[in-house]
Amino acid sequence: MLDTLSEIWVWEFLSRLHPLVVHFPIGVLITAFFLELLTLGDKRSELRPGIRWLVYIGAGTSLVAALVGLMLAYGGNYPASTLDYHQYTGIATVLLSITAAWLLYRADVSGRERDLNIYRGTLGATVLMLTFAGHFGASLTHGSDYLTSVLPWNYEVSDRGESSELLMELVEHREMGPLSEHHLNELNLGVRRIFASSCYRCHASDTDAEGGLLLDSKEAVFEGGDGGPVVIAYQPDESELLRRLLLPQGHDEVMPQRGRSLFSEEIELIRLWIDEGAYWSDDATGIFREAQLALSKPEPPEARPGLDSTIDRFMDVYFQKHGINWKEPVDDKVFIRRVYLDAIGLLPEPEEVESFITDTAPDKRDRLIDSLLSRDHDYAQNSLSFWNDLLRNAYTGTGFITGGRKQITDWLYNSLEQNKPYDQMVRELVNPEENSEGFIRGIQWRGDFNASQSTEMQAAQNISQSLIGVNLKCASCHNSFTSNLTLNEAYGFAAVFSDTALAIERCEVPTGDMAEPAFFYSELGDIDGSLSREERLEKLADMLVDNNNGRLYRTIVNRFWARLMGRGLVEPTDEMDLEPWNQELLDWLAADLIDHDYDLKYLLSSIMRSRAYQLPSVGMTEMEAGAAEDYVFSGPLRRRMSAEQFADALSQLAAPVYSSVAYDPFDSQIAEASWIWYDTREDGRPAFSPPGTYYFRHKFVLPANRRIEQARLLISVDQSFELFVNGSKAGQGQDWRQVERLDVTQQLQNGENLLAIQAEKGGSTAEPAGVLINLEVVFDDGSELEVNSNSDWLITNLQPEPGSGWKSLNYDDGEWESVRSFGNSRNNNYWGRLVEFTHDPSEERLQFVRAALVPNDPFQSAMGRPAREIVTTNRETDPTLLQALELTNGEFVYEVLGRGAVRWLTEYGDDPDEMIRQIYLSALNRNPNERELKIAGDMIKPEPNSEAVQDLLWAIVMQPEFQLIY
């Protein structure tokens, strides 16, 4: 009904009176409240009659305001939840005010002090409720962050904090006397940083200079624009610049015309600067902070008893400065789990925990660290994810389809497994061999692309970001607004990688200049433009790994610190020009890495051995700590397992999550065969086949004159199958990841043989399906013969007549069709390299396929594994609804835990209590307490079944205690 009412203009007019009317009760009730306060303690009773009227009027008008408000709510478009709050608090205000009025009336009648106090309390509550209602109302009309957006803790960009800090500091100094030259310098740089981030877009010398105004040089600033000077020293109020900044939003002349308005602190800083004479610093350095190129060589502080590691000696000084006391290191149980996950990415087995705890050697932690780091493959497979993120290396992704991208996985894995010195790794990335060239080759899509995304520019950007912690992305389009880097410097660096001369483009428009090859830290040397590309890359590699290039080493030690501690000494870790919270320690770590032959395992080990690493973890997320400007280290952050670590932990606790790899470090002898299925076509194009049952036949001949010594068969079918050899059933399966190994020596014969398969694909949509088979026959003379699934096989989607004998040799399959191959066992898009598809499993292989070796999938993606389309140095760790849905409803985890339950039942089915204990020991490295034992016992006792165990496993792996690294 109200909907139709709002159509009538009178109602609509009335309803819009709400904002007008509401202010009346607000004013009246609040005044009443304050007057009431004045009467406390039996004072000023002469106010009473006035207050009485105020309360009555307030109650009455609030009722009117609420009624017109309700009309407005049904006629307008406002966010529902805020509207609800406003409505409810508004109605509550009305009820409270009417109650207060009645209570006041009652108190007047009774004259009792107690009644008066009840009334006073209610009036107070009314005013409080009114405040809430008013706030929500203002949120509706002004936006929910109208009020809070000006609070300093809600600043979205750090510029504001920086400007306000500087402003406060300078204002303070000014009160004590004239500003020193140092402070004038600071003031000027602060103002120029504001110009850079907010004005350079239109007013820098590489732009069209809107209004004839440039703000990036002293002369230009004082010369002003087409309309005359914009800055008049000592006269802020006469300066056009300030006038424009202070105009209301939407005004034709307001500045900036584009992007966000300046924060008030920034405007005040500019005002102060003009007021102080618009001093222009002639310092040659850039306007943004830059880290020193070379490392300072800080002398480690004196050792103190109990603090042997040099890291701890630096930290001790730091702690003293911040008034922090050393906490006790974590106990053995917490330590072993932490160091296992950090060093090799696996959970410690219960026996390993037990023997570590009972070990009494004083250096057992150091020995554990070193023994873990010496598990080369485990170490490599855990580290691989970090490096893949950093170097944008992936098994799948854009660009591969047209050959516009190349993996470096083989190079990377071997570098990690062999613990290649870091300087050598950098050399090989920048001046690559064939198997490491993918890094600087970038990703190339077919067609035109932005000049700032040429593969040469990608190489420059990625080296800058990944290896030396500098953001070149802004400067590859125009002079950076956030750093001192220029467009020319970005192009100069890109030109190093280019075969041809690079034309400089500013925001996609050619400037007419050609780039000269150069690295922007020219202190490290020149790159002669006449050199060939190979020579240039070699020279660049020399310059990058030069020990004087402290940035390279600071960047990597900072990243490793962040890996282990959750937050870098500098944060974000890609912005190494920012100030570290412990410069001496950062520089010492970098220098120490150089002194130890660039040994990355040494670096990990020395951090892990420190007491700083072994402190109790701090309950802050990486995001919190990363954004905290006044972060103080007091221990490693509590981190969440990575997607890969979580998957591997499931493999350990339940059942192997993966069975095929994208990259195979062990060179498994995977048998040759093709994945075959029905050749469905749509419009003549290959398509996936609809779900259903399909029939396969393959005839082959074994030579007559040799005896069959042994015949071994491997089969894997997506999704289920029954296999017949010469008419008799030889095997079946429902899971392509479970390779069936069959001995069919007895079923084969000399001469003609037949393999027949009935295979089925379920589901509701057409999806990849396939049969993979390899038969290896060994004869008595030692000769061998191999039969495998390939394009010679025949298939039909029509069910053969029962009794037609389609499973045996003598059957007319003339109507059957040829299969289509979907790739072979070693290289295909749908199933990967199924490592179990081998007749001779290698000894060296680990017990299960680690998640880092498989392509990204919806499960890992939901758990935060990035797509690696760009360099990623900061994974998302916050839980999301989509992730929770994957974990609670997803078939993926459910299926893995189902297999895990079967395994646990087989081993401990007859002793449920022991099963629970062992699950806790494996999952959480501790015994269950009595309550847990009881709750879990109630779930699975008396007769454990696989569903109950599956659900117990689920409830445990979902615990924060399982998923967090303490």
Binding site: S164, G250, A627, N889, A955, P960
Partner: protein, 473 residues
Amino acid sequence: MSDSMNRRDFLKKTSAATLAALSATLPASAFLSGCQPKIKSKADTVILLWMAGGMAHTETFDPKTYTPFEKGLESDRVLSTFPSVPTSVDDLFFSEGLESIGSVMDRGTVIRSYRAADLGHILHSRHQYHWHTCYEPPQTVDVPHIGAWIARELGPINPVIPPFISIGQRFDVGESEELKAYHTAGFLGSEYGPFLIPDPSSGLESVRPPVGMSIERFERRHQLYRDLIDQSPAGEYASDYQKESMLRAMEQSYALLKSPDAEAFDLSQEPKESYEAYDTGRFGLGCLLAKRLTEAGARFINVTTEYEPFMGWDTHENGHTRTIRMKKMIDRPIARLIKDLEQSGRLDRTLVVLASEFSRDMVLEGRPGAGVQDQVEVPDVMENLSHYGMHRHFTDGCSILMFGGGIKKGAVYGKTADERPCGTVEKPVVIDEIHQTIYHALGIDSQTNYVIEGRPFYTTPDGDGEAVMELFA
């Protein structure tokens, strides 16, 4: 949205507030400048009907002179392979086979002047990336899909329905990695990423316990989880924030599973008549699911005819025959969707957009004069019916439909030439404008941005996208 609250919470804790000191120097203008007029929204929900693979405008919503097939016909003589048919709007004609959509055109607008970007070489997924993100790939940061921006800016309408839902696309087909590259929330964070439902008829499975798990067992499992958490001594280890946020996510997904609103995902709840009216295959059922989810309170829904190289609208040969099939697939369900939304009163607050990455032409590749390399062999003279159709990729004039959400009814916007090249001749629109038009309808300001790596990244490049105000009533 809860995420942004968390960000604020911790900043509150960590950054030392010096409000008092500052307030002394705050000029009044700072308060006034925050008082920007807000755009009044015209729509709450967006449904994007995606014609994947390049839908020829001259064969659908912008027909030209019809030339029937005959052996020996010269390719460059053919502009349309279908006759035109009238629509419910005077003087507005569509291509034969789109009569149902034609009958609801009095509820919407056809834009005939969309110009796709000239990316130098036709790669469907690149143009699709551009259409869905407003940015040309590659980019130096992970760019969000328009649905993710909307999810972040407006949040869910119904807390148990994910705000960004994508229906109908499988990711194991060709160019799948390129498809994944734009089906993402990018730097906004996966919280705003797409909830993927490749097969609409099994949409319910994505919000139900795993197959084989009864509701009772699901409840028991969840209870066990809660009981064990209460007992875990991890309380002494885990920070409240991390633990709470993990628990919250789990409780949220539990709420969705338990919520009666989850039935919106279940197409079997739909009356038989309605189900059959929509059922032209996965796309039609996708439209039905979109209708149900809109009613339940979804924010952004993408329904695609599905992109698979050389399939669907990607007609490299046999175009005429295949276009007949594609029209059958889309015509009935789309018209029904518009009518159903209208009937339930939701069309006014729902913006329905139909679009494709570019158009097609029989002889031109790319756009006139662009010199784009031909990708399809087209004979000068047709020998058989398979040569008859729009087989090359054309970017200079494409059609877009818009319904509801404050869009004009029964209107035509822009114009293409009636002779080859049938490119845009009046009121060209580009993707930045289309995006900003959609944002505008939702009340999202053109300067909306996210600061990534120290610079603001806008919903449209540089925040320059302008809404086409003429499209609105």
